[in-house]
Each structure stands twice: as structure tokens, then as C-alpha cells.
Symmetry: none
Subunit: 293 residues, 2 copies
DNA sequence: TTTATGATGTAAAGTTTTTTACACAACGAA
DNA sequence: TTCGTTGTGTAAAAAACTTTACATCATAAA
């Protein structure tokens, strides 16, 4: 794709040629500039109708500013719009200064930001808010479970949630112990499940049984959706695939942290007391360095 | 013109119906969301080609979210775009389209990208390469250990390294068992330590003893540097602080994944064989869903 | 007034899209 | 296996759009 073409905009072109235009052509120019750029995104038919001129007049107008066909004009306009809309992050150039662009670090950074953006576009704002609500409800215990790879994420989320609220239970890594744990789940409890390819049958079974018991299942999965989505009240499809075939958990972790942050600020009153108490306990164990300030 | 129509955006509709979509239809949904909204402004022909599906599939996809014709869909999208463009506060460069800028998701995304950039600027390219070398050396066993919060990261890294090479040992979470493990560390082994505030005394002790034995210590810490940096051959100061006082592990995870990727491609010949074997074992256990394609 | 010229529209031809109808292949259940 | 179902694509019909050729109208100079 030929990038970087940052010459004059189409609006500039129209303004520059304005005095060459005949009266009927000026109607078009005015309409185009007055409803820029959307007016140019309709068909030439509609455009001419909106200006009360004929289609050939539109053609001649565009011909004057250098476009030999309406199609090409519209393509250019779309590209211009796309560049305007494209987010500022993408253009930040090289990341790790002084390292070659091809270095893993740079390639990975670009891939990860792309993942993040895709994930953001796929996540439902409503789902996010509703899950936050669920996690803030002290009446619901929260159970977490992950698969072979995602286990670490459920661990991380559990560690953070425990600091904020009570009733957080992380299921053991081995599926054999899950039935035992299922006994402890009550209807209206929340089960956070992490499942990415390859999807694990044990997890699916667990989620189904839990859902049958009336447990609210929240699923963190990849863009291909684990079959557990079927039983889940909310699903977060996180984009994991980076270029050249390796998967990244960065977007998943990002989502986890966003959730923790949201829950924490929502429960602030209770949570801050709980956190202070935790600090005191840490101080007493003497296992941590005393903070400087 | 019916103005003020601020119902669900088309992106919302797509997200809401995402799990009803068939595989081919998801390609379209992903493409539409991934290049939103410009991807929807081409002809149905180009759109289908870009997704490598047929035009009728596009029609069916749009049908599912309530549009009975492609034309009507595109009209709606244009109107949405027009409203966005005329509303100065709205989107431009926003990530999660349709969510207010102040929403946790957007604030967190911005913070995380900033962290990533800071981290990239502080990491030594040489250190990175040298650590990759260490991890690729089959003669050195690799030990991993983390603290209360970072434990999940060491877990994640261990899980991935195990797939690639042999001799990967994750230390248990409880410090009481570490002395026992220290017996197994040989000079020239590698110890990967994760330590962020609050720095843990037990970890420091462990790292010191290991360093004394001639173990190569590699430290993942935050920008304030754990005291372990003293004994470490290589330190990665990862930026963890996001605005408003919460810490993020995203940059840490990013670094971990970059390392794994580098090691994997460096050891490709051996690693791919090992990974294939793992696949076969998984197939035999029957615990995983068989992949479609 | 006539005539030439420029401005604009009409209508039809050519092209591309959209839409529909139907066929084929993959898959799961009987 | 066989059969029905479901997912998806092919291809042709229908519609819309773009472009061209040419006609008409208005204006101004002779």
C-alpha cells in the first residue's frame, strides 16, 4: 500500500480550482465542501441529484480538478478519510530506538499493539460493565479457572481480586479436583473461565455443569471463540494471534487489568480498608522490604 | 433527516451477534471490526474478496444483524460515520469505538501503550540478545521464580519455555522449599527472577545465594530496580506504573513473549520436533478439541 | 437576426454492483 | 452407511451505477 501520500487534500484541490468552475459546477463544489467529506461518498447519481445538476456536470467538475473518473475520485477521497481516521498510535514509528526494525522486540511491539486495537474493537462495552457489576457483588463468590496456558492468567486475576474482595476461589490446575469444587458453587456465583485454542474438553464440561447450576459463566477466549461461549453469559474474544503464527497473551492481560481497575474503583470504600489491612499483615511478616517513602 | 439517532452502532450490532456467526461470516465480522468503519464503505464485491468469501456470505452476515440489503447497511454506516465526523468530541483515534473516552478501557489502553513505549526505550538490546543466548544454551538448566504477584509471570514463561527446551524448572511458590531447590542449581545455570515492588526479602536471599554459586541471574523488575539488580548479570527494568497509581504487568508479559519468540526461532530445528511430539501427546490424551483445519 | 460558442442536460451504452436461485460439499444423526 | 441438515459457493438475473455521445439551450458577437 502506498502510504505517506500527504499532498493536498481533495478539499484543497476544489478550492484551488474554484474560479474555473461554471455556475452548475460551483453548485457541486459548494455541496462537496459544505458536507465534506461525506457528500463525496455517495453515488454520482445521488450527488448530482442533491445538487440539482446532471451527472455529466459532476464528471466535468471532477475532471477539472484532475480526476478522469468518478471512481478514482471516490477512491482518493476514501483513502484520505481512512488516513484521517486511522489512529495516532500507528504512526509512532520505531519503538526501541537504536535497534533495527526487524528485531524481535520491534516486530513484537507492533504486533502487540495491533492485537490490542483489534481486541478493543471486539469487546462489548456493555459486557465489560456488566461483568464489573458481577464482580462487585459481594453476594456472589467468584471462581476462576484456566487451561494449560491460560492458567497463569486466572492465577494473576485471582491474586488481584483477592486483594479487593472476599470470596475469591481459584480452582486447582488439575481437572481431577474440579468436581469437588463444583459442590461449592452456588447459583448466582460467578465462574471466570479462560479457554484459548486448543480448547480443553475438561473446561467445557466444567462450564456446562456450572451453567446448569445457575452459575454466571464469564469466558475469556480468543477470536475463534471457545465452544464454552455457548454457556457463557458474557464472552470476551481477545485477539491473540500476532503475525507469523505466535500467540500473545498481552491483550488478555490488558483486559484482566482493566477489569481489576474497574472493580477496584467501584468498590473503593471497602477495598481500601481491606488493602490497608493487607499492608499491615505484610509488615508484620517481615518478608518484604520496607518502602522508602 | 432523522437526527440524534444514537442507538447501537453497527459495530455494536456485529459484536452482539458475534457468536451466531458461522466461520465464514466471522471472517467478515472480524474484517469489518478490524478496519472499522472504512472496510464497510467499499462494494460488497471488494469486501467479500478481501475476506475471501463469496458475496452471498456477506449478505447473510449482514442479514443476521438486521440489514435486508447491502445498500441499506452501507447507508447506515455512512450515516453513523457522518455523525461521528460532525461530533467534535467523538471518536477520532479512540480505540473502543462507541465507548466514552473516559471509560476505563480507553484510559487503560492509553496507559498501557505508554508503558510499552517507555519500556522499549529502557531495555538494552544487547542484554536482550545475551539473555536469549543464555536461554538457548542446552547446557544450562533454567530456573524460574517469582514473588507474590509476579508468580503468575514466571509460571507463564516456564510453561512456554518447557515447550521449547528441556531443563526448565519452576520453583515452588512458597519460599520454604527454595533451599532444597538451590541444591539442584549448578554453576552456569540460569535463574530468572521476577521481583517488583514491594521487593521480597526471600527472593533477594535466593538470588544472592544463587549468584554466589555461579548461577547467571536474570532479573525482571520495575523501573525502581529491585535490590537483586546487584547480583544479576542482566536486569530488565520494565515500566509498570500507569496513571492514577495502578501497576500494569502488560509490559512485563510483552517482554516475556518477545524472549520466548526469540528463543523459539533461534532453536527452531530442535524446538519444532519437540513441539510436534507435544502435539501428538495431546492428541492421545483426548483432553483437547480436535482443531478444525 | 443570425450564427458560433460555450454550458448544460438527455438518453442510451457500457460497466459494475447487488441480489436471487440453486447446487455442491461437509457434517452429524439415525 | 445413508440421509437430512447446514454452511458455503457459483452463476445468472436484476438493478444500479458510470461513462459516452450527442442534443438542446442560452448567450454574445457579427
Amino acid at each position: 500500500m502506498d502510504q505517506g501520500e500527504s499532498g493536498p487534500t481533495i478539499a484543497d484541490l476544489i478550492r484551488a480550482h474554484f474560479n474555473e468552475f461554471k455556475p452548475a459546477e460551483r453548485k457541486i463544489a459548494n455541496h462537496l465542501l459544505g458536507n465534506y467529506p461525506m457528500a463525496g461518498l455517495t453515488s454520482i447519481t445521488e450527488l448530482s441529484a442533491a445538487c440539482q445538476v446532471s451527472t455529466p456536470t459532476v464528471m466535468r467538475t471532477l475532471g477539472r480538478i484532475g480526476f478522469t473518473s468518478f471512481t478514482r475520485f471516490q477512491k482518493a477521497l476514501k483513502q484520505e478519510l481512512a488516513e484521517t481516521l486511522s489512529d495516532p498510535i500507528a504512526k509512532h514509528g520505531l519503538w526501541a530506538t537504536g535497534t533495527p526494525r526487524e528485531h524481535v522486540l520491534n516486530r513484537a511491539a507492533e504486533a502487540v499493539v495491533a492485537n490490542l486495537r483489534d481486541t478493543m474493537n471486539h469487546i462489548s462495552y456493555d459486557s465489560f460493565n456488566q461483568v464489573v457489576e458481577l464482580l462487585c457483588d459481594p453476594g456472589r463468590a467468584v471462581h476462576l479457572v484456566g487451561g494449560r496456558i491460560t492458567h497463569a492468567f486466572s492465577d494473576y486475576l485471582a491474586t488481584h481480586l483477592e486483594v479487593i474482595r472476599r470470596g475469591v476461589r481459584q480452582l486447582p490446575a488439575s481437572a481431577g479436583l474440579w468436581p469437588h469444587h463444583l459442590l461449592d458453587m452456588a447459583a448466582d456465583d460467578v465462574l471466570l473461565v479462560f479457554d484459548v485454542r486448543r480448547y480443553e474438553l475438561d473446561l467445557q464440561g466444567l462450564a456446562r455443569v456450572a451453567a446448569d447450576k445457575g452459575v454466571e459463566v464469564v469466558l475469556f477466549t480468543d477470536q475463534w471463540l471457545s465452544p464454552i461461549a455457548e454457556y457463557a453469559g458474557h464472552s470476551f474474544p481477545v485477539h491473540t494471534e500476532a503475525a507469523s503464527g505466535w500467540d500473545s497473551g498481552v491483550a488478555t492481560l490488558f483486559l484482566i487489568e482493566a477489569l481489576v481497575t474497574a472493580v477496584e474503583s467501584r468498590l473503593w470504600d471497602g477495598a481500601s480498608e481491606r488493602m490497608n489491612e493487607l499492608e499491615r499483615i505484610f509488615d508484620r511478616t517481615g518478608r518484604f522490604r520496607r518502602l522508602k517513602e
